[in-house]
């Protein structure tokens, strides 16, 4: 088989210093389905942006059909015969399917005509639909068709532009199992017509089902490229996660006492009405850390938001010392000594254009200790901020510095400081160490364990399996909005074991999962 694409030693360092790609090799053969797998942040999307001309690599070479490739933008990539189906659809909702497909490459009634030749366009599209079996009505508006069909429109878009190499970026993330089956059908049809596919995913079942070869990325590097038929899910997941646990946290065995939070049959839906939490039941006790493991987007965000009053629940209850949190406002829940470290500190966790002091006071500005009538006691606020910055080792010019001027680690320490400053009885920490440096990670982990030892209950949500495993006393695995397993985190528990649950391969029996 001839080699279609060869990317060698690709490095990409962003201006802010983040090294997203640190030496990636990728070789794609003509006519194959090549899976590209890796955890979040492994460098998949950056690599594809480079391939599609959206980003320029810092160093490295790309050869396409044997000749070196220099791309100025997506237009060049399209001209070379590449097409990308983005994870977030690039479609204009009020335009018809046909208009979206031909967008930017419309056909005219004649070489001098001003007008679109809609009939001819539709003919072309119908031919494509027939050839590849991608059923969709060209005259329907995109806003009226289901997600699975939108994806077909995206695929038709790249086919219409004559793409030979098609990149599918996590195409099944938004699909139902049935739609996924249909997609796989189409992909096979594409291969039958001589196309080549790069299939980005982190669902290993799909890798096994559809791909010919698989390249595993980890931390910006290529770990291995394997023939799919010669490998198995266990091996791939081991390569993806990596054996070495990066850091270990010193902690004594937990001494759990009374139940702090008892979640019973909690259900919630997203804005579109699709269920995101299904009968979630959990129990957290004083002095223990319950870790939630799972591939991102399986309901973790919503679980945290429901418990903190930011997202409505459709049914179920969450008893906090016997009192139901569901239906209470954010302010009420905060006043009940529930601390919340949100997953996105840039938007939810901090106000970047406010001072550090103003960020720290968020939980206390109504507290009589810091107020004087309608006024905020500025001096006390500043003193409080200084103390907090010292306690939590926040390195900044002063408490008046803008939060936005802080590094990721220091900003996260501000968030943690604020949420711990009221001595929470329940701490909900979502991705507490995402994107922070090693030093800050250790600091934050020690703080969390310290709180546990001090008698607080901790709900830890993290996309980093290693973090969940090194911190938690018990681990609940969430998959598709459902708690599929609750496991004791002891010596015998392995990452592979959790991985099976995370990827939906295995599921605990209900009676075991129920507390």
């Amino acid at each position: 088989m001839t080699i279609l694409l060869e990317m060698k030693e690709i490095h990409k360092v962003y201006p802010n210093g983040t090294a997203a790609n640190r030496g990636i090799d990728l070789t794609v053969r003509e006519g194959e389905i090549h899976a590209l797998v890796g955890e979040n942040g492994a460098g998949k999307s950056t690599l594809m942006k480079i391939l599609f001309g959206l980003e320029a690599p810092t160093s490295g070479t790309i050869a396409y059909r044997g000749s070196p490739l220099k791309l100025q933008g997506p237009r060049d990539a399209i001209r070379q015969g590449m097409g990308m189906v983005h994870q977030h659809f690039m479609l204009a909702p009020s335009l018809t399917v046909a208009e979206n497909i031909v967008l930017g490459d419309e056909l005219r009634r004649g070489p001098l005509s001003m007008f679109r030749d809609q009939l001819k366009e539709q003919d072309e599209i119908r031919k494509l639909i027939e050839t590849y079996g991608l059923k969709v009505d060209p005259l329907e508006k995109v806003e009226h068709i289901p997600v699975g069909q939108k994806q077909r429109v995206e695929i038709l878009k790249v086919l219409y532009r004559g793409a030979k190499l098609i990149i599918l970026d996590e195409p099944t993330a938004v699909l139902t199992p049935q739609e996924t089956d249909e997609l796989f059908h189409s992909i096979k049809a594409l291969i039958g017509q001589g196309h080549t596919i790069i299939f980005i995913t982190h669902k290993l079942r799909e890798v096994m089902e559809i791909s010919d070869r698989v390249t595993v990325l980890r931390a910006g590097k290529t770990i291995a490229t394997l023939e799919t038929k010669n490998t198995n899910q266990e091996e791939i997941s081991r390569l993806m996660v990596g054996r070495d646990v990066l850091f270990s946290v010193e902690k004594r065995p937990a001494e759990p006492k009374d139940t702090v939070l008892s979640v019973r049959r909690l259900n919630a839906v997203n804005e579109k009405g699709a269920p995101v939490l299904r009968d979630v039941s959990l129990e957290i006790r004083q002095g223990e850390i319950l870790g939630i493991a799972g591939v991102e987007g399986n309901g973790q965000t919503e679980l945290v938001e429901v418990l903190t009053g930011l997202h409505p629940a459709s049914s179920g209850e969450a008893l906090y010392f016997g009192e139901n949190l569901i239906g209470k406002s954010v302010a009420e829940i905060r006043a009940m000594k529930v601390g919340h470290v949100p997953e996105d500190r840039q938007t939810s966790g901090a106000c970047l254009t406010s001072s550090i002091a103003e960020n720290l006071i968020l939980d206390h500005y109504r507290n009589p200790e810091f107020t004087w009538g309608p006024f905020i006691h500025k001096k006390k606020m500043k003193e409080f901020a200084k103390v907090m910055m010292q306690l939590f080792d926040v390195r900044a010019a002063s408490e008046e510095a803008m939060a936005g001027s802080l590094s990721g680690g220091n900003l996260q320490k501000v968030v943690i400081a604020r949420e711990l400053s009221k001595n929470p009885k329940l701490l909900i920490a979502s991705q507490p160490t995402r994107g922070v440096d090693i030093g800050a990670i250790e600091f934050i982990h020690r703080e969390i364990v310290k709180r546990r030892d001090g008698g607080a209950a901790v709900l830890l949500v993290s996309a980093e399996l290693s973090e969940v495993m090194s911190l938690s006393d018990r681990i609940a695995v969430i998959y598709n909005g459902e708690i599929v397993a609750v496991l004791d985190n002891d010596e015998s528990l392995t990452e592979q074991e959790i991985g099976y649950y995370m990827l939906g391969v295995k599921k605990q029996q209900k009676e075991v999962a129920a507390p």
Partner: protein
């Protein structure tokens, strides 16, 4: 609060923008005037050449300070209201109604009552677009623009038909207020009326409100990052309504102070754009109350300068518009300010 460096950069940028805008005005004078130097002199020097003109500047600045404050409060909470004009009419109208309908009341009770009613009128009229934005997500730019017309036309109807002073002839106005209700001169013989003192008081109050109180903290937080505010337990919808209502109250004050200080009664169409000038003031001041005071004084200075120029040269006063427009555009040009800050940051690094 901003760190002193960025504040310094912002002020430098704004002053530069003002200078460039003035230069644009000079350029037009140079091209169109037969005696450009006389025109420029009468524009820049004459407003300060005698006490009467200085008083006029202060009087012109008074309503601008109020409307500037009104919009700065709304803008700081992320509400892009253009409705100060309408709120000003409604507030001024309501205050005036109280002024003419309770004759004989002691001014010590009457005057505060007039102020309170003007504020309530403006606040309630502001609450409409506030509610529509917070709970129905209706674009406040459009609703406030439309409500401005509703207010102007509605008050115009009443002052033309229901509450018209029969002796006012073709010019629609209410009957003149009792003399002791009007705002007197600060110093006898000096043309500035007491409104400027109320305006300065308002600047102080708004400054305290925005930067020292719990409500101000909430207002600014919602404007800066409403997601963060919601995460912190702040009821963002309610805060949005409060902010536009506070703005409305200030706009109502603008109306009534202008009436009590300058007109002596409610006159049809008396504002003629004060609410829109307030938008410019708030933009120039970067929504800072102290900045509003400075910007309003500068703006009034240019306006009075334009008048003295019209009298002292062959240039019409509308020249001021060119300066105003350039000022607005330059001060709002985020690209320029980002560029300046990046340059500054680079220079700092180079020094290190």
């Amino acid at each position: 609060m901003k760190t002193s460096k960025t504040l310094y950069l912002d002020i430098t940028g704004i002053v530069l923008a003002a200078l460039i805008a003035l230069v644009c005005g000079f350029a037009v004078i140079l091209v169109t005037s037969s005696d450009p130097l006389a025109a420029i002199k009468s524009l820049l020097v004459d407003p300060l050449s005698n006490w009467f003109n200085v008083g006029t500047i202060l009087n012109k600045a008074v309503p601008l300070i109020f409307t500037g404050l009104a919009l700065s409060v709304a803008f700081q909470s992320g509400v892009f209201s253009m409705g100060a004009e309408g709120q000003l009419y409604v507030g001024g109208f309501l205050g005036s109604l109280i002024a003419i309908s309770l004759p004989g009341l002691s001014p010590w009770i009457h005057l505060p009552l007039i102020f309170v009613c003007a504020m309530i009128g403006g606040a309630l009229f502001g609450a409409i677009p506030g509610y529509l934005k917070a709970y129905l997500n209706a674009n406040e730019i459009v609703t406030t623009l439309m409500l401005n017309f509703v207010a102007t036309l509605g008050t115009s109807y009443f002052v033309n038909n229901v509450f018209k002073d029969p002796s006012s002839g073709g010019y629609a106005r209410m009957e003149f207020f009792e003399k002791d209700l009007l705002l007197g001169k600060i110093i006898p013989g000096f043309s500035a009326h007491a409104g400027i003192l109320i305006a300065i008081l308002a600047v102080v109050v708004v400054h305290l409100l925005m930067y020292k109180t719990k409500l101000g903290y909430e207002l600014r937080l919602v404007g800066k990052n409403s997601q963060f505010a919601a995460y912190g337990g702040i009821k963002t919808k309610r805060v949005i309504i409060y902010s536009i209502m506070i703005g409305g109250a200030l706009a109502g004050l603008a109306g009534i102070v202008e009436i009590l200080g300058v007109h002596g009664t409610y006159k049809d169409n008396f504002s003629n754009g004060l609410g829109f000038d307030g938008i410019i003031i708030a933009l120039l001041a970067r929504n800072n109350p102290i900045g509003v005071l400075v910007a309003a004084l500068f703006y009034a200075y240019i306006q009075v300068g334009a008048q003295t120029m019209q009298m002292g040269s062959d240039m019409p006063r509308e020249l001021a518009v060119i300066i105003q427009v350039m000022l607005v555009l330059l001060v709002s040009a985020q690209a320029i300010f980002t560029y300046l800050k990046q340059r500054y940051a680079k220079d700092q690094k180079a020094v290190k």
